[in-house]
């Protein structure tokens, strides 16, 4: 900063540390809860320091699941979550890339009409059309399938807009050079456009992976079969069971596992994550 006032800097650091503490406290409590055995988790007050049951709880939660809650093992649900998140992120990126390519690089009838149709999806979040969308998916026989979980969520105006923005910044001369070199549209797309958009693709993937992994309402509606449960849904299932017999050590272990992959992605791909977040909102 401009002037050197150690006191002000110190206060800034203290405020930040306090802020971090507030933000992190729930996670700490979650972690602590996941390290104790069931018996300890019904004694008031609850512990503030970790116990020694972490790996036992981990094994129990991952491979056996919560007894009595009727939910499959968390490891199993995490695989479902992973498949769904990857399908949503991959699907969104793929269809947005090619539709942005068509809209930016081709002159064809109804081009703007298509653009506006894609734009409209921005105004129709799943929450406002749950019932009729559910009916469509049910009629198509897509309930309890990965397709039903992911496809209705992969139309994306934001991703299309972002790629459109990226393509518009790519100099025209590259296309001209490629045409003189003899590249057709698809060759240009694959050899030039996609490689040039790769950091944007990666950034978007980070955002969409988190988006996909954290989906809740939609999986709740289209899956009735336990074999299709995702981990985020599983937590809710366990919470309901907790009304009778609170197995907080396992619920918190599950919470920890459910947040692990997306948090991992945010922390370790921070640069891409920030880029993705700021660019999709442009």
């Amino acid at each position: 900063m401009v002037e050197h006032r150690p006191i002000v800097t110190l206060i800034s650091h203290l405020v930040l540390i306090f802020g971090v503490a507030i933000i992190a406290f729930p996670i700490w409590i979650t972690f602590v809860a996941s390290t104790h055995e069931a018996a300890r988790m019904v004694q008031i007050p609850l512990p503030l320091l970790p116990g020694d049951q972490f790996f036992k709880n981990l094994e129990q939660t991952l491979f056996k699941g919560l007894e009595g809650a009727g939910a499959p093992p968390v490891g199993f649900m995490m695989v479902n979550s992973l498949i769904m998140a990857l399908m949503i992120a991959g699907g969104k990126i793929a269809i947005s890339l090619i539709s942005a390519f068509a809209i930016v690089y081709f002159k064809f009838p109804f081009r703007m009409g298509f653009f506006w149709m894609i734009f409209i999806t921005l105004m129709l979040p799943v929450e406002v059309r749950i019932l009729p969308t559910f009916e469509v998916v049910a009629n198509l026989g897509m309930l309890n399938t990965y397709w039903g979980l992911s496809i209705p969520l992969i139309a994306s105006a934001t991703a299309t807009f972002m790629f459109r923005q990226v393509f518009l910044t790519i100099p025209d001369e590259l296309l001209e050079a490629a045409r003189i070199d003899g590249a057709g549209p698809m060759r240009f797309f694959i050899d030039i456009l996609v490689p040039l958009s790769r950091t944007n693709i990666a950034a978007l993937f980070v955002i969409l992976f988190i988006y996909g992994w954290n989906q809740y309402l939609w999986p709740l509606l289209v899956t009735t079969d336990q074999s299709m449960y995702t981990v985020v849904m599983g937590i809710k299932q366990m919470l309901e069971a907790a009304e009778q017999s609170p197995d907080w050590h396992q619920i918190m272990m599950t919470s920890l596992l459910a947040m692990l992959p997306p948090v991992f992605v945010v922390v370790f791909m921070q640069r891409l994550f920030v880029k993705g977040l700021t660019e999709t909102e442009k």
Partner: protein
């Protein structure tokens, strides 16, 4: 190797005509330059030859093929772009090899050609680098290499030197000229820089507002500009144009500011009318004993070392503005009155309204 033939070529975007009636035959192995101010349509014409713009009127042929409906890739041309248009994510080698790969040329042949071209352009050491790791001059070479390696029958250059600094520009200009002489490939070069145009081209096309002002060799354009536009465009500093009234018999031109010049026989015949008299700054000499003298009032003097530029007015302070270029270093003061002379053969007469040359 190929000739390029433009027949009544024109281009319009809807109602707007940007090029009209362009006829030109470019010989095999010739280096021609299309020059003009920005917006004159020169890049459009080049891009029409390349196939990047459609041809709305007329016909272009390369070799013995009419290329109007051919894709750029099928025209057997290569192009060097102003911003180089190197593929940023590919190495120098892959940039050069990309077009050859698409054409399905065998790997070892591609390697041989790329290596050989890199040798010529002295970029052999950079083949594995990415374009962003190169300097402007090196990128320029890679862009040329990408064109050369294709062994096309025509090279097209779209202001390739305008992104370089002045010194590098002079150096690359020379290299392009040498390269073209060595390879002997028909080349069309577009620029707005008249020095580049004069030094590079065997022949020049001066474009202005979508039509051809003049075609010819650099010497022809310099010595006998057909229009005021060409006269002003070619040469630096620009030719002086001085409004004058011709005497009745056409033997003398009278200027505001008190000067009059005797015109030799071949310039007469334009009696009793207004003309625009064109005199190049370098053709005005400090010579009191010359046959055809006139005075000039000095306002500003610029010393460039090799020559001295004098800005002033022709005659007294009321006269038209004038620039004189004198050889070497001259000590001239402000408000000094100089006596200048000019060889009558270096005087050009233009119609002040149409801009057309009067003396033939």
């Amino acid at each position: 190797m190929a000739e390029i033939h433009l027949r009544q070529v024109g281009k319009s975007y809807g109602e707007v005509e940007v090029l009209q009636g362009i006829d030109w035959k470019i010989g095999d192995g010739e280096f021609v330059v299309i020059v003009g101010p920005s917006g004159c349509g020169k890049s459009t014409l080049l891009r029409m030859i390349a196939g990047l713009e459609s041809i709305t009127q007329g016909e272009i042929s390369i070799g013995d093929r009419v290329v109007n409906d051919l894709e750029p890739a099928e025209r057997d041309i290569a192009m060097v772009f102003q911003n180089y248009a190197l593929y940023p994510h590919m190495s120098v080698y892959n940039n050069m090899a990309y077009g050859l790969k698409i054409r399905g040329i065998p790997k070892d042949e591609i390697e041989r050609r790329v290596k050989q071209t890199a040798e010529i352009l002295e970029i052999g050491d950079y083949l594995t680098r990415a374009p962003r790791q190169l300097s402007g001059g090196q990128r320029q070479r890679v862009a040329m290499g990408r064109a050369i390696v294709r062994e096309p029958s025509v090279f097209l250059f779209d202001e390739p030197l305008s992104n370089l600094d002045a010194k590098l520009r002079v150096q690359m200009r020379l290299e392009i000229k040498k390269l073209q002489q060595r390879l002997g490939i028909t080349s069309v070069y577009v620029t707005h820089d008249q020095v580049e145009a004069m030094t590079l081209g065997h022949r020049l096309m001066v474009l202005n507002g979508g039509h051809v002002e003049q075609l010819g060799t650099p010497i022809e354009l310099y010595e006998r500009p057909l229009t005021k536009f060409v006269a002003g465009f070619i040469g630096s500093p620009s030719m002086n144009f001085l409004e004058a009234k011709m005497s009745e018999d056409g033997s003398k031109a009278h200027f505001t500011g008190g000067n009059s010049l005797e015109l030799p026989a071949h310039l007469s015949g334009h009696g009793d009318r207004r003309v625009s008299v064109g005199m190049r700054p370098e053709h005005l000499l400090l010579d009191e004993n010359g046959s055809n003298t006139a005075s000039a009032t000095v306002h500003v003097v610029e010393h460039l070392g090799a020559d001295t530029l004098v800005h002033g007015t022709f005659g007294n302070d009321d006269g038209p503005e004038l620039v004189v270029r004198l050889d070497g270093i001259k000590t001239i003061g402000q408000d000094e009155v100089l006596t200048l002379s000019i060889d009558p053969n270096n005087i050009h007469l233009f119609d002040p309204d149409s801009g057309k040359r009067l003396n033939t």
